[in-house]
Symmetry: C2
Subunit: 308 residues, 2 copies
């Protein structure tokens, strides 16, 4: 699947991923009202609203981008109907040829991590039948529990040719509280990065490993170090746009081949119609606004990479 | 909710929690066949089988125990139907007067952690209506992202009088890979423990905080240290039984008042009928076997606490 991700990036010439993290407040009034008219002001109604919202965003951007990253928390907050909308979104994006990165940040021990890996990337045997429960292409994984928590994901990735992105240095302000702590003169995130390189050696695609890393755009200097620590790991870079990261901050996340990183923007794309720059589209044309924001993001990153 | 947990522990005289982590392989043939006859060999069939299995376990143990801890991964692996069985289990256990600890190990940043907190412990506004999506009493939380990831849970706990258990030192063999690393002469888990004490000071019940910690039974010496580092935190102790922890290993997780810790057993209880010691019950009476295993566990821990 890392090969498909890279092929998609080359085809679209866009190392970007659109974060499908719909808050109900991002969904324009007309979409909400239509969903509530059909399902009432219920969890089902909210789930229908975010699904219709996602569909419109995807329909307006899929030809420009290689991948999407639905954040499962935004669906889980609407209970079972919300998770059904997550699944519907995953399936629809795959139909459209997009690589789907499930931003699930799971991580547990042994058989429990194996269950998450099965649920999100693998298949489950029930009697004589086999099912693919959520079926994302990639998942994000939390490393706090060590190899026991990560290896079951790697095993499923090897079987299914899928991939993971392990949290190394997250984009949030307090990420340094534990991740930046010095251990034998090296920060914890670097130690986790070394582990990512080690885990990744077990499952290589053509050029890059199936085991990637998450490193926030908000910490470009650390990105520079981590790029060298794990040269074969694809880096998923959140924090662009709404969280403050800019194209020029991102150049060191990429390798010399122009590959090796994929930059996420969520709010900045899906709620673009609420920004001053795209206000002319209005809430009726939020899909077009998202498309314009994708184009601007592509240009920003391409420009930064050309001028490095 | 910490007050209710403590009241339940005093009432049952049992500082234990039963982990409702059903693998399909634990579910006796007759339960599986009945579910498959009704729903086919489908995700729905598997979900029905684990729900009926859970119900039987709960019906045979609820009067002896204060709390249950369903591990959401075991449900998530069956997709949407599995998560519906999780929700059904949460609701049923609450009806029976049990405190429900959702073992979800979530943790993300800002609005995303807020979405998880809303989904699992809080309520969500949809138009003019309000819903409680999963509605557990407690949730487990991963600290790797720092305060940004934990504070949104604490906010919801304050509003809803619910609680969390933060992963401090997990029970698995590789937990030391990152958690035991020395930082200024102190292991990372101790630093996380100090943070738990700090976070917990913001939301105190009568005697203990709403912010507890997870510390594995398999590391009793570390439990002894952490008990002192976070005196007001309830410690959720996994790793008893099947993972190797014994009653005598657990005494230092408790405070002098006999409170402060709650010990989890999953497989050791719910799949007791498969063990040599309870084989006489047979798969038909797996509920009775679970009850006998709960009684033995209560005795083991009570004995250890008396002799300390």
């Amino acid at each position: 699947m890392i090969n498909k991700l890279i092929a998609n990036i080359k085809k679209t010439n866009a190392p970007i991923v659109v974060g499908l993290d719909p808050m109900l407040s991002y969904v324009p009034e007309q979409v909400q009202q239509k969903a509530f008219a059909e399902y009432g002001e219920t969890l089902e109604g909210a789930a229908e609203a975010i699904w219709q919202f996602n569909k419109e965003i995807v329909d307006h951007t899929f030809d420009l981008i290689p991948a999407v990253k639905p954040q499962i928390a935004m669906y889980e907050q609407f209970g079972i109907p919300g998770l059904a909308a997550f699944k519907k979104t995953v399936d629809y994006c795959k139909e459209k040829g997009l690589v789907v990165i499930g931003d699930i940040k799971r991580g547990d021990i042994g058989s429990t991590s194996a269950a998450y890996a099965t649920g999100h990337l693998g298949r489950i045997q029930i009697g004589s039948k086999t099912y693919v429960p959520f079926d994302e292409d990639f998942a994000t994984v939390n490393p706090y529990l060590g190899s026991d928590g990560v290896n079951p994901f790697i095993k499923v990735c090897q079987e299914e040719k899928k991939g993971i992105f392990v949290l190394v240095k997250t984009s949030n302000p307090s990420s340094g509280e534990f991740q930046d702590q010095q251990i034998d003169g090296k920060p914890l995130y670097e130690m986790v990065g070394e582990k990512v390189a080690e885990w990744g050696a077990q499952c290589m695609g053509d050029e890059y490993s199936y085991v990637g890393a998450v490193v926030g755009a908000t910490y470009p200097e650390m990105g520079k170090v981590l790029r060298k620590v794990m040269p074969k790991a694809y880096i998923l870079v959140p924090g662009y746009g709404a969280q403050g990261g800019k194209g020029k901050d991102l150049v060191h996340f990429f390798n010399e081949d122009g590959l090796g990183a994929i930059v996420n923007s969520s709010r900045g794309i899906i709620a673009a119609y609420k920004q001053e720059a795209y206000r002319q589209y209005g809430p009726e044309h939020f899909g077009e606004a998202a498309r314009a924001a994708v184009e601007a993001m592509k240009e920003d990153i391409a420009g930064a990479l050309e001028n490095r």
